[in-house]
Protein backbone atom coordinates (compact mmCIF):
# COMPACT_ATOMS: atom_id res chain seq x y z
CA UNK A 1 0.00 0.00 0.00
CA UNK A 2 1.44 3.39 -0.83
CA UNK A 3 1.76 6.08 1.81
CA UNK A 4 -1.13 8.21 0.59
CA UNK A 5 -3.54 5.31 0.87
CA UNK A 6 -2.11 4.29 4.22
CA UNK A 7 -2.31 7.74 5.70
CA UNK A 8 -5.75 8.53 4.34
CA UNK A 9 -7.23 5.06 4.53
CA UNK A 10 -10.27 6.10 6.56
CA UNK A 11 -11.61 8.87 4.29
CA UNK A 12 -10.64 6.85 1.22
CA UNK A 13 -12.60 3.88 2.48
CA UNK A 14 -15.60 6.05 3.37
CA UNK A 15 -15.51 7.55 -0.11
CA UNK A 16 -15.41 4.03 -1.50
CA UNK A 17 -18.51 3.05 0.50
CA UNK A 18 -20.23 6.18 -0.83
CA UNK A 19 -19.40 5.32 -4.43
CA UNK A 20 -20.47 1.70 -3.94
CA UNK A 21 -23.78 2.79 -2.45
CA UNK A 22 -24.31 5.25 -5.26
CA UNK A 23 -23.57 2.47 -7.75
CA UNK A 24 -26.17 0.20 -6.16
CA UNK A 25 -28.78 2.96 -6.19
CA UNK A 26 -28.01 3.92 -9.77
CA UNK A 27 -28.46 0.34 -10.91
CA UNK A 28 -31.60 -0.20 -8.87
CA UNK A 29 -33.26 3.08 -9.84
CA UNK A 30 -31.52 4.66 -12.84
CA UNK A 31 -34.48 6.99 -13.46
CA UNK A 32 -33.79 8.79 -10.22
CA UNK A 33 -30.04 8.63 -9.97
CA UNK A 34 -29.16 9.44 -13.57
CA UNK A 35 -31.02 12.75 -13.52
CA UNK A 36 -29.78 16.03 -12.12
CA UNK A 37 -32.82 16.84 -10.04
CA UNK A 38 -32.04 14.46 -7.21
CA UNK A 39 -28.54 15.93 -6.88
CA UNK A 40 -29.91 19.44 -6.53
CA UNK A 41 -32.06 18.14 -3.73
CA UNK A 42 -29.05 16.43 -2.11
CA UNK A 43 -27.08 19.64 -2.39
CA UNK A 44 -29.77 21.60 -0.63
CA UNK A 45 -30.09 19.24 2.36
CA UNK A 46 -26.74 17.48 2.92
CA UNK A 47 -24.75 20.69 3.68
CA UNK A 48 -26.79 21.28 6.85
CA UNK A 49 -26.09 17.81 8.24
CA UNK A 50 -22.49 18.08 7.09
CA UNK A 51 -21.78 21.42 8.78
CA UNK A 52 -23.09 20.13 12.09
CA UNK A 53 -21.11 16.94 11.64
CA UNK A 54 -17.86 18.85 10.94
CA UNK A 55 -18.04 20.71 14.25
CA UNK A 56 -19.09 17.55 16.07
CA UNK A 57 -16.11 15.70 14.57
CA UNK A 58 -13.67 18.07 16.28
CA UNK A 59 -15.52 17.70 19.56
CA UNK A 60 -15.50 13.91 19.36
CA UNK A 61 -11.80 13.81 18.42
CA UNK A 62 -11.22 15.70 21.69
CA UNK A 63 -13.18 12.94 23.50
CA UNK A 64 -16.17 15.17 24.17
CA UNK A 65 -19.71 15.00 22.84
CA UNK A 66 -22.60 17.40 22.39
CA UNK A 67 -26.15 16.08 22.62
CA UNK A 68 -27.62 19.57 22.80
CA UNK A 69 -26.92 20.76 19.27
CA UNK A 70 -30.43 20.05 17.91
CA UNK A 71 -31.82 22.40 20.55
CA UNK A 72 -29.20 25.00 19.62
CA UNK A 73 -30.19 24.67 15.93
CA UNK A 74 -33.78 25.46 16.95
CA UNK A 75 -32.72 28.31 19.22
CA UNK A 76 -30.46 29.83 16.56
CA UNK A 77 -33.24 29.61 13.97
CA UNK A 78 -35.69 31.15 16.41
CA UNK A 79 -33.43 34.05 17.35
CA UNK A 80 -32.74 34.73 13.69
CA UNK A 81 -36.39 34.60 12.65
CA UNK A 82 -37.67 36.58 15.61
CA UNK A 83 -35.11 39.36 15.22
CA UNK A 84 -35.63 39.44 11.47
CA UNK A 85 -39.40 39.65 11.91
CA UNK A 86 -39.03 42.48 14.40
CA UNK A 87 -36.34 44.55 12.72
CA UNK A 88 -36.09 43.35 9.09
CA UNK A 89 -32.33 43.51 9.57
CA UNK A 90 -30.56 40.37 8.32
CA UNK A 91 -27.24 41.37 9.89
CA UNK A 92 -28.75 41.92 13.32
CA UNK A 93 -30.67 38.65 13.05
CA UNK A 94 -27.58 36.70 11.99
CA UNK A 95 -25.44 38.31 14.69
CA UNK A 96 -28.07 37.56 17.31
CA UNK A 97 -28.31 33.92 16.28
CA UNK A 98 -24.54 33.35 16.31
CA UNK A 99 -24.27 35.07 19.69
CA UNK A 100 -27.02 32.81 21.05
CA UNK A 101 -25.10 29.79 19.72
CA UNK A 102 -21.86 30.96 21.33
CA UNK A 103 -23.64 31.48 24.64
CA UNK A 104 -25.04 27.93 24.46
CA UNK A 105 -21.53 26.68 23.75
CA UNK A 106 -20.14 28.60 26.70
CA UNK A 107 -22.86 27.12 28.91
CA UNK A 108 -21.96 23.57 27.83
CA UNK A 109 -18.28 24.37 28.16
CA UNK A 110 -18.66 25.71 31.69
CA UNK A 111 -20.62 22.65 32.77
CA UNK A 112 -17.98 20.33 31.36
CA UNK A 113 -14.79 22.26 32.10
CA UNK A 114 -15.52 23.94 35.43
CA UNK A 115 -18.22 21.72 36.96
CA UNK A 116 -16.52 18.64 35.52
CA UNK A 117 -19.79 17.05 34.47
CA UNK A 118 -19.18 14.46 31.73
CA UNK A 119 -20.21 16.11 28.49
CA UNK A 120 -22.72 13.42 27.50
CA UNK A 121 -24.71 14.10 30.69
CA UNK A 122 -24.23 17.87 30.77
CA UNK A 123 -25.39 18.29 27.18
CA UNK A 124 -28.43 16.04 27.63
CA UNK A 125 -29.36 18.47 30.39
CA UNK A 126 -28.77 21.54 28.25
CA UNK A 127 -30.68 19.95 25.37
CA UNK A 128 -33.81 19.87 27.52
CA UNK A 129 -33.10 23.28 28.99
CA UNK A 130 -32.41 25.04 25.67
CA UNK A 131 -35.23 23.22 23.89
CA UNK A 132 -37.59 24.23 26.68
CA UNK A 133 -36.29 27.80 26.68
CA UNK A 134 -36.87 28.13 22.95
CA UNK A 135 -40.39 26.75 23.18
CA UNK A 136 -41.21 29.15 26.01
CA UNK A 137 -39.72 32.12 24.16
CA UNK A 138 -41.62 31.22 21.00
CA UNK A 139 -44.77 30.49 22.94
CA UNK A 140 -44.78 27.15 21.14
CA UNK A 141 -45.65 28.77 17.83
CA UNK A 142 -43.93 28.63 14.47
CA UNK A 143 -42.66 31.80 12.80
CA UNK A 144 -43.05 32.59 9.13
CA UNK A 145 -40.59 34.96 7.50
CA UNK A 146 -41.53 35.07 3.80
CA UNK A 147 -40.01 38.58 3.42
CA UNK A 148 -36.57 37.04 3.90
CA UNK A 149 -36.68 35.75 0.34
CA UNK A 150 -36.15 39.25 -0.97
CA UNK A 151 -33.22 39.88 1.32
CA UNK A 152 -29.55 39.68 0.33
CA UNK A 153 -28.89 37.20 3.09
CA UNK A 154 -31.19 34.68 1.44
CA UNK A 155 -29.30 34.97 -1.85
CA UNK A 156 -25.95 34.84 -0.09
CA UNK A 157 -26.61 31.82 2.09
CA UNK A 158 -29.20 29.66 0.37
CA UNK A 159 -29.60 31.20 -3.08
CA UNK A 160 -29.20 29.13 -6.22
CA UNK A 161 -25.94 29.77 -8.04
CA UNK A 162 -26.64 30.01 -11.79
CA UNK A 163 -30.22 29.13 -10.80
CA UNK A 164 -29.05 25.59 -10.06
CA UNK A 165 -26.48 24.97 -7.34
CA UNK A 166 -27.63 25.77 -3.80
CA UNK A 167 -25.24 28.25 -2.15
CA UNK A 168 -25.13 26.21 1.05
CA UNK A 169 -22.93 23.69 -0.76
CA UNK A 170 -20.23 26.31 -1.09
CA UNK A 171 -20.67 27.34 2.54
CA UNK A 172 -20.28 23.74 3.67
CA UNK A 173 -17.17 23.35 1.52
CA UNK A 174 -15.75 26.57 2.93
CA UNK A 175 -16.43 25.32 6.47
CA UNK A 176 -14.76 22.00 5.87
CA UNK A 177 -11.74 23.76 4.39
CA UNK A 178 -11.41 26.18 7.30
CA UNK A 179 -11.89 23.50 9.92
CA UNK A 180 -9.44 21.24 8.11
CA UNK A 181 -6.85 24.03 8.23
CA UNK A 182 -7.55 24.34 11.93
CA UNK A 183 -7.41 20.60 12.61
CA UNK A 184 -4.46 19.63 10.45
CA UNK A 185 -2.23 22.67 10.32
CA UNK A 186 -2.96 24.79 13.35
CA UNK A 187 -1.80 24.38 16.90
CA UNK A 188 -5.45 24.34 18.01
CA UNK A 189 -6.11 21.18 16.00
CA UNK A 190 -2.93 19.58 17.27
CA UNK A 191 -4.11 20.25 20.80
CA UNK A 192 -7.53 18.77 19.96
CA UNK A 193 -5.89 15.56 18.75
CA UNK A 194 -3.63 15.24 21.77
CA UNK A 195 -6.37 16.04 24.26
CA UNK A 196 -8.50 13.28 22.75
CA UNK A 197 -5.58 10.90 22.74
CA UNK A 198 -4.25 11.49 26.25
CA UNK A 199 -5.67 14.46 28.15
CA UNK A 200 -3.36 13.94 31.12
CA UNK A 201 -0.27 13.99 28.93
CA UNK A 202 -1.55 17.04 27.09
CA UNK A 203 -2.06 18.89 30.35
CA UNK A 204 1.33 17.87 31.71
CA UNK A 205 3.00 19.15 28.57
CA UNK A 206 1.38 22.54 28.90
CA UNK A 207 -1.49 22.20 26.40
CA UNK A 208 -4.34 24.50 27.47
CA UNK A 209 -6.82 21.63 27.85
CA UNK A 210 -9.66 23.55 29.50
CA UNK A 211 -9.51 26.48 27.09
CA UNK A 212 -9.45 24.18 24.08
CA UNK A 213 -12.50 22.25 25.32
CA UNK A 214 -14.41 25.46 25.97
CA UNK A 215 -13.56 26.76 22.49
CA UNK A 216 -14.73 23.48 20.93
CA UNK A 217 -18.12 23.74 22.63
CA UNK A 218 -18.36 27.36 21.48
CA UNK A 219 -17.55 26.30 17.93
CA UNK A 220 -20.23 23.62 18.09
CA UNK A 221 -22.75 26.12 19.49
CA UNK A 222 -22.01 28.76 16.86
CA UNK A 223 -22.14 26.19 14.06
CA UNK A 224 -25.46 24.80 15.31
CA UNK A 225 -27.02 28.25 15.49
CA UNK A 226 -25.70 29.01 12.01
CA UNK A 227 -27.31 25.84 10.68
CA UNK A 228 -30.53 26.99 12.37
CA UNK A 229 -30.24 30.20 10.34
CA UNK A 230 -29.58 28.23 7.15
CA UNK A 231 -32.62 26.00 7.67
CA UNK A 232 -34.87 28.95 8.52
CA UNK A 233 -33.69 30.75 5.37
CA UNK A 234 -34.13 27.67 3.18
CA UNK A 235 -37.68 27.16 4.49
CA UNK A 236 -38.46 30.87 5.02
CA UNK A 237 -39.92 29.81 8.32
CA UNK A 238 -39.06 28.49 11.73
CA UNK A 239 -40.80 25.88 13.83
CA UNK A 240 -40.12 24.81 17.43
CA UNK A 241 -38.68 21.34 16.79
CA UNK A 242 -36.60 22.39 13.80
CA UNK A 243 -33.32 20.78 14.86
CA UNK A 244 -34.61 17.48 16.12
CA UNK A 245 -34.27 15.50 12.93
CA UNK A 246 -30.52 16.12 12.85
CA UNK A 247 -29.46 14.27 15.97
CA UNK A 248 -29.07 10.77 14.56
CA UNK A 249 -28.09 11.85 11.06
CA UNK A 250 -25.21 13.93 12.35
CA UNK A 251 -23.89 11.30 14.74
CA UNK A 252 -24.17 8.68 12.01
CA UNK A 253 -22.23 10.92 9.59
CA UNK A 254 -19.39 11.33 12.06
CA UNK A 255 -19.09 7.64 12.91
CA UNK A 256 -19.54 6.37 9.36
CA UNK A 257 -16.74 8.79 8.54
CA UNK A 258 -14.41 6.79 10.76
CA UNK A 259 -14.02 9.15 13.73
CA UNK A 260 -13.33 7.15 16.86
CA UNK A 261 -15.59 7.70 19.84
CA UNK A 262 -12.55 6.89 21.98
CA UNK A 263 -10.98 10.17 20.87
CA UNK A 264 -7.74 11.21 19.26
CA UNK A 265 -8.64 9.94 15.83
CA UNK A 266 -10.90 11.35 13.14
CA UNK A 267 -10.94 13.18 9.83
CA UNK A 268 -13.18 15.86 8.40
CA UNK A 269 -13.02 14.28 4.94
CA UNK A 270 -14.37 11.05 6.40
CA UNK A 271 -17.22 13.01 7.98
CA UNK A 272 -17.94 14.78 4.69
CA UNK A 273 -18.30 11.45 2.89
CA UNK A 274 -20.23 10.08 5.86
CA UNK A 275 -22.73 12.93 5.57
CA UNK A 276 -23.11 12.23 1.85
CA UNK A 277 -23.76 8.55 2.53
CA UNK A 278 -26.43 9.41 5.11
CA UNK A 279 -27.83 12.04 2.75
CA UNK A 280 -28.35 9.76 -0.25
CA UNK A 281 -29.58 6.75 1.72
CA UNK A 282 -33.19 7.76 2.20
CA UNK A 283 -33.67 8.90 -1.38
CA UNK A 284 -32.03 5.71 -2.61
CA UNK A 285 -34.19 3.47 -0.48
CA UNK A 286 -37.42 5.17 -1.46
CA UNK A 287 -36.65 5.39 -5.15
CA UNK A 288 -35.68 1.72 -5.12
CA UNK A 289 -39.34 1.13 -4.37
CA UNK A 290 -38.89 0.01 -0.77
CA UNK A 291 -41.39 1.34 1.71
CA UNK A 292 -40.36 4.10 4.10
CA UNK A 293 -40.28 1.54 6.92
CA UNK A 294 -37.10 0.19 5.45
CA UNK A 295 -35.24 3.45 5.82
CA UNK A 296 -34.17 3.05 9.40
CA UNK A 297 -33.25 -0.59 8.97
CA UNK A 298 -30.97 0.21 6.05
CA UNK A 299 -29.51 3.19 7.92
CA UNK A 300 -28.69 0.81 10.72
CA UNK A 301 -27.09 -1.75 8.42
CA UNK A 302 -24.98 0.92 6.70
CA UNK A 303 -23.76 2.34 10.00
CA UNK A 304 -22.90 -1.08 11.42
CA UNK A 305 -21.12 -2.27 8.30
CA UNK A 306 -19.07 0.96 8.13
CA UNK A 307 -18.08 0.67 11.76
CA UNK A 308 -17.01 -2.95 11.31
CA UNK A 309 -14.93 -2.10 8.25
CA UNK A 310 -13.23 0.81 10.03
CA UNK A 311 -12.47 -1.37 13.01
CA UNK A 312 -11.03 -4.19 10.89
CA UNK A 313 -8.95 -1.77 8.88
CA UNK A 314 -7.50 -0.31 12.04
CA UNK A 315 -6.44 -3.66 13.45
CA UNK A 316 -4.90 -4.66 10.18
CA UNK A 317 -3.09 -1.39 10.17
CA UNK A 318 -1.64 -1.92 13.63
CA UNK A 319 -0.40 -5.28 12.40
CA UNK A 320 1.43 -3.69 9.53
CA UNK A 321 3.11 -1.24 11.90
CA UNK A 322 4.28 -4.12 14.01
CA UNK A 323 5.76 -5.76 10.96
CA UNK A 324 7.48 -2.58 9.94
CA UNK A 325 8.99 -2.02 13.35
CA UNK A 326 9.97 -5.43 14.52
CA UNK A 327 9.92 -7.57 11.40
CA UNK A 328 7.39 -9.84 13.04
CA UNK A 329 4.40 -11.30 11.29
Amino acid sequence: MNTFMLRHRVPVLTAFILVALWGVFTVSSPDTFLHGRIYISFMSTIPFTAMLAFALTLLIIAREIDMSFPAVVALGGFVFSAIFQATQSPLLALGGAITAGLVCGILNGILVVYFRIPSIIATIGTQFFLGGLTTVLADGLALSIPQVRDSWIHTLMVGRIAEVVPAQVLWALLMVFLLWLLLSHHVFGDNVNFIGDNPTAARMMGVPVERTRLLLFMLMGAMSALVGVFVSLEMSSWWPNQGQGYMLLVFASVFIGGTSVLGGRGTLMGTLFGACIIGILEAGIISAGLAGFWTRLIYGVTILVSLMIHSMLLKQHMGSWRRLLFNKV
Binding site: V187, F188, N191, M204, G206, W321
Partner: protein, 251 residues
Amino acid sequence: MTERVLELTGLNKWFGPVHALKDIHFSLNRGEVCALLGDNGAGKSTLIKLIAGAEQIEDGQLLIGGEKVPTHRYSVQQARQLGIETVYQSGSLGEQQSVWRNLFLGRHFRNRLGFIDYKEERRQAAQLLKALDFRGVGANIDAPVSSLSGGERQGLAIGRAMLFDARVVILDEPTTALSVGEVEKVLCFIETLKSQGRACLLITHNMNDAYRVADRFVVMDRGSIVAEYRKSQMTQSSLQLALLDAVGRGA
Protein backbone atom coordinates in the same frame (compact mmCIF):
# COMPACT_ATOMS: atom_id res chain seq x y z
CA MET B 1 32.69 27.46 40.02
CA THR B 2 29.52 25.49 39.61
CA GLU B 3 26.63 27.17 37.94
CA ARG B 4 23.36 27.02 39.82
CA VAL B 5 20.54 26.42 37.33
CA LEU B 6 17.65 25.99 39.73
CA GLU B 7 17.05 27.13 43.26
CA LEU B 8 14.06 26.87 45.56
CA THR B 9 13.87 28.64 48.89
CA GLY B 10 11.30 28.53 51.64
CA LEU B 11 8.85 26.48 49.62
CA ASN B 12 5.61 25.43 51.29
CA LYS B 13 2.61 23.67 49.82
CA TRP B 14 -0.72 22.85 51.32
CA PHE B 15 -3.48 20.70 49.91
CA GLY B 16 -6.39 21.87 52.04
CA PRO B 17 -5.35 21.08 55.61
CA VAL B 18 -2.46 18.84 54.51
CA HIS B 19 0.95 20.45 54.73
CA ALA B 20 2.50 18.58 51.78
CA LEU B 21 5.81 20.44 51.55
CA LYS B 22 7.40 22.08 54.56
CA ASP B 23 9.97 24.85 54.08
CA ILE B 24 11.91 23.24 51.25
CA HIS B 25 15.32 24.60 50.30
CA PHE B 26 16.76 22.93 47.26
CA SER B 27 19.11 23.66 44.41
CA LEU B 28 20.52 22.03 41.29
CA ASN B 29 23.81 22.69 39.51
CA ARG B 30 24.71 22.46 35.88
CA GLY B 31 25.59 18.94 34.78
CA GLU B 32 24.50 17.45 38.07
CA VAL B 33 22.23 14.45 38.54
CA CYS B 34 20.33 14.62 41.80
CA ALA B 35 18.23 11.70 43.00
CA LEU B 36 15.19 12.45 45.09
CA LEU B 37 14.58 9.53 47.46
CA GLY B 38 11.93 8.76 50.02
CA ASP B 39 8.78 6.77 50.71
CA ASN B 40 5.50 7.17 48.91
CA GLY B 41 3.79 10.28 50.17
CA ALA B 42 7.04 11.96 51.18
CA GLY B 43 6.33 14.86 48.81
CA LYS B 44 8.73 14.00 45.98
CA SER B 45 6.06 14.11 43.28
CA THR B 46 4.56 17.31 44.66
CA LEU B 47 7.97 18.92 44.61
CA ILE B 48 8.65 18.06 40.97
CA LYS B 49 5.15 19.14 39.98
CA LEU B 50 5.81 22.55 41.49
CA ILE B 51 9.12 22.83 39.64
CA ALA B 52 7.49 21.64 36.40
CA GLY B 53 4.72 24.22 36.72
CA ALA B 54 2.00 21.57 36.95
CA GLU B 55 1.02 22.75 40.44
CA GLN B 56 0.79 26.31 41.67
CA ILE B 57 3.60 27.62 43.88
CA GLU B 58 1.84 29.54 46.64
CA ASP B 59 4.62 30.15 49.10
CA GLY B 60 8.34 30.31 48.43
CA GLN B 61 10.80 31.49 45.84
CA LEU B 62 11.90 29.93 42.60
CA LEU B 63 15.07 30.98 40.80
CA ILE B 64 15.90 29.62 37.40
CA GLY B 65 19.37 30.40 36.03
CA GLY B 66 19.83 32.82 38.91
CA GLU B 67 16.74 34.82 38.05
CA LYS B 68 13.67 35.07 40.21
CA VAL B 69 10.55 33.69 38.56
CA PRO B 70 7.20 35.31 39.38
CA THR B 71 5.50 32.27 40.87
CA HIS B 72 1.88 33.42 40.61
CA ARG B 73 2.03 33.17 36.82
CA TYR B 74 4.29 30.13 36.68
CA SER B 75 2.87 27.37 34.42
CA VAL B 76 4.01 24.32 32.48
CA GLN B 77 4.33 26.48 29.38
CA GLN B 78 6.55 28.95 31.19
CA ALA B 79 8.63 26.25 32.84
CA ARG B 80 9.31 24.73 29.44
CA GLN B 81 10.23 28.09 27.99
CA LEU B 82 12.69 28.59 30.82
CA GLY B 83 14.28 25.24 29.98
CA ILE B 84 12.65 22.82 32.39
CA GLU B 85 11.40 19.62 30.77
CA THR B 86 9.69 16.82 32.64
CA VAL B 87 9.63 13.12 31.81
CA TYR B 88 6.70 11.60 33.62
CA GLN B 89 6.43 8.03 34.80
CA SER B 90 3.41 7.20 32.72
CA GLY B 91 5.08 8.74 29.69
CA SER B 92 3.42 12.00 28.80
CA LEU B 93 2.80 10.85 25.25
CA GLY B 94 -0.19 10.61 22.93
CA GLU B 95 -0.53 6.91 22.11
CA GLN B 96 -2.16 7.27 18.73
CA GLN B 97 -0.01 10.12 17.53
CA SER B 98 3.20 9.48 15.67
CA VAL B 99 6.61 9.40 17.31
CA TRP B 100 7.75 12.63 15.73
CA ARG B 101 4.57 14.56 16.50
CA ASN B 102 4.90 13.61 20.14
CA LEU B 103 8.24 15.35 20.33
CA PHE B 104 6.52 18.65 19.71
CA LEU B 105 3.51 18.13 21.94
CA GLY B 106 2.56 21.42 23.54
CA ARG B 107 5.50 23.21 21.96
CA HIS B 108 5.41 23.68 18.22
CA PHE B 109 7.29 25.52 15.54
CA ARG B 110 4.53 27.85 14.55
CA ASN B 111 4.06 31.17 12.90
CA ARG B 112 2.38 34.17 14.45
CA LEU B 113 -1.07 32.94 13.47
CA GLY B 114 -0.49 29.59 15.14
CA PHE B 115 0.00 27.50 12.01
CA ILE B 116 2.48 24.70 12.50
CA ASP B 117 5.45 23.97 10.27
CA TYR B 118 5.03 20.18 10.34
CA LYS B 119 7.58 19.65 7.60
CA GLU B 120 10.34 21.32 9.55
CA GLU B 121 9.25 19.54 12.73
CA ARG B 122 9.40 16.15 11.08
CA ARG B 123 12.83 16.91 9.63
CA GLN B 124 14.21 17.94 13.02
CA ALA B 125 12.60 14.97 14.72
CA ALA B 126 14.23 12.61 12.22
CA GLN B 127 17.59 14.25 12.81
CA LEU B 128 17.32 14.05 16.58
CA LEU B 129 16.12 10.47 16.74
CA LYS B 130 18.86 9.41 14.35
CA ALA B 131 21.42 11.15 16.55
CA LEU B 132 19.98 9.39 19.60
CA ASP B 133 20.59 6.09 17.87
CA PHE B 134 17.67 4.55 19.65
CA ARG B 135 16.75 1.66 17.42
CA GLY B 136 13.06 1.32 18.09
CA VAL B 137 12.27 5.01 18.18
CA GLY B 138 14.56 5.99 15.35
CA ALA B 139 13.44 3.17 13.06
CA ASN B 140 10.11 4.61 12.08
CA ILE B 141 9.31 8.08 13.29
CA ASP B 142 5.86 7.92 11.68
CA ALA B 143 4.81 4.96 13.80
CA PRO B 144 2.30 5.62 16.57
CA VAL B 145 3.66 5.71 20.09
CA SER B 146 1.45 2.73 20.98
CA SER B 147 3.88 0.55 19.02
CA LEU B 148 6.85 1.49 21.24
CA SER B 149 8.16 -0.38 24.27
CA GLY B 150 8.33 1.23 27.72
CA GLY B 151 12.02 2.07 27.40
CA GLU B 152 11.54 3.54 23.96
CA ARG B 153 8.78 5.75 25.31
CA GLN B 154 11.06 7.07 28.06
CA GLY B 155 13.74 7.59 25.44
CA LEU B 156 11.31 9.58 23.34
CA ALA B 157 10.31 11.74 26.29
CA ILE B 158 13.98 12.31 27.16
CA GLY B 159 14.62 13.13 23.50
CA ARG B 160 11.98 15.82 23.83
CA ALA B 161 14.05 17.45 26.57
CA MET B 162 17.15 17.34 24.37
CA LEU B 163 15.34 18.74 21.36
CA PHE B 164 14.33 21.83 23.29
CA ASP B 165 17.76 22.11 24.87
CA ALA B 166 16.45 21.91 28.43
CA ARG B 167 18.65 23.14 31.24
CA VAL B 168 16.87 21.01 33.80
CA VAL B 169 15.35 17.61 33.10
CA ILE B 170 13.03 16.14 35.69
CA LEU B 171 12.54 12.39 35.52
CA ASP B 172 9.73 10.78 37.52
CA GLU B 173 10.54 7.09 38.04
CA PRO B 174 11.91 6.65 34.52
CA THR B 175 12.97 3.03 35.06
CA THR B 176 9.87 1.68 36.79
CA ALA B 177 8.34 -1.35 35.07
CA LEU B 178 11.12 -1.68 32.52
CA SER B 179 13.14 -4.76 31.66
CA VAL B 180 16.84 -4.88 32.55
CA GLY B 181 17.99 -3.99 29.06
CA GLU B 182 15.59 -1.12 28.83
CA VAL B 183 16.62 0.25 32.22
CA GLU B 184 20.19 0.26 30.93
CA LYS B 185 19.14 2.30 27.90
CA VAL B 186 17.33 4.85 30.04
CA LEU B 187 20.30 5.17 32.41
CA CYS B 188 22.54 5.75 29.40
CA PHE B 189 20.22 8.52 28.31
CA ILE B 190 20.49 10.15 31.72
CA GLU B 191 24.27 9.95 31.45
CA THR B 192 24.06 11.59 28.03
CA LEU B 193 21.93 14.40 29.49
CA LYS B 194 24.56 14.90 32.17
CA SER B 195 27.45 14.93 29.71
CA GLN B 196 25.60 17.60 27.75
CA GLY B 197 25.74 19.76 30.86
CA ARG B 198 22.05 19.49 31.75
CA ALA B 199 20.94 19.17 35.33
CA CYS B 200 18.75 16.16 36.10
CA LEU B 201 16.37 15.65 38.97
CA LEU B 202 15.50 12.01 39.27
CA ILE B 203 12.81 10.36 41.36
CA THR B 204 13.32 6.66 41.82
CA HIS B 205 12.70 3.83 44.24
CA ASN B 206 15.47 1.80 42.75
CA MET B 207 18.69 2.32 44.72
CA ASN B 208 20.84 0.60 42.09
CA ASP B 209 19.69 3.01 39.41
CA ALA B 210 20.00 6.00 41.70
CA TYR B 211 23.49 5.10 42.81
CA ARG B 212 24.62 4.39 39.30
CA VAL B 213 23.72 7.79 37.77
CA ALA B 214 23.27 10.33 40.57
CA ASP B 215 25.93 12.59 42.09
CA ARG B 216 23.83 13.67 44.99
CA PHE B 217 20.98 12.12 46.97
CA VAL B 218 18.26 14.13 48.63
CA VAL B 219 16.03 12.24 51.05
CA MET B 220 12.50 13.42 51.74
CA ASP B 221 10.14 12.33 54.46
CA ARG B 222 6.67 13.69 55.24
CA GLY B 223 7.09 16.85 53.28
CA SER B 224 10.56 17.81 54.44
CA ILE B 225 14.08 17.26 53.18
CA VAL B 226 15.59 15.20 55.97
CA ALA B 227 19.02 14.29 54.64
CA GLU B 228 21.40 14.95 51.82
CA TYR B 229 24.43 12.92 50.74
CA ARG B 230 27.11 13.16 48.08
CA LYS B 231 28.04 10.08 46.15
CA SER B 232 31.69 10.65 47.03
CA GLN B 233 30.84 10.19 50.71
CA MET B 234 28.89 6.97 50.37
CA THR B 235 29.01 3.43 49.15
CA GLN B 236 25.74 2.01 47.90
CA SER B 237 25.18 -0.02 51.03
CA SER B 238 25.94 2.86 53.37
CA LEU B 239 23.50 4.99 51.36
CA GLN B 240 20.84 2.35 51.73
CA LEU B 241 21.31 2.23 55.50
CA ALA B 242 21.37 6.00 55.76
CA LEU B 243 18.15 6.20 53.76
CA LEU B 244 16.38 3.70 56.00
CA ASP B 245 17.60 5.62 59.00
CA ALA B 246 16.46 8.97 57.56
CA VAL B 247 12.94 7.94 56.64
CA GLY B 248 12.56 6.02 59.91
CA ARG B 249 13.38 9.12 61.90
CA GLY B 250 10.64 10.29 64.18
CA ALA B 251 8.57 7.16 63.59
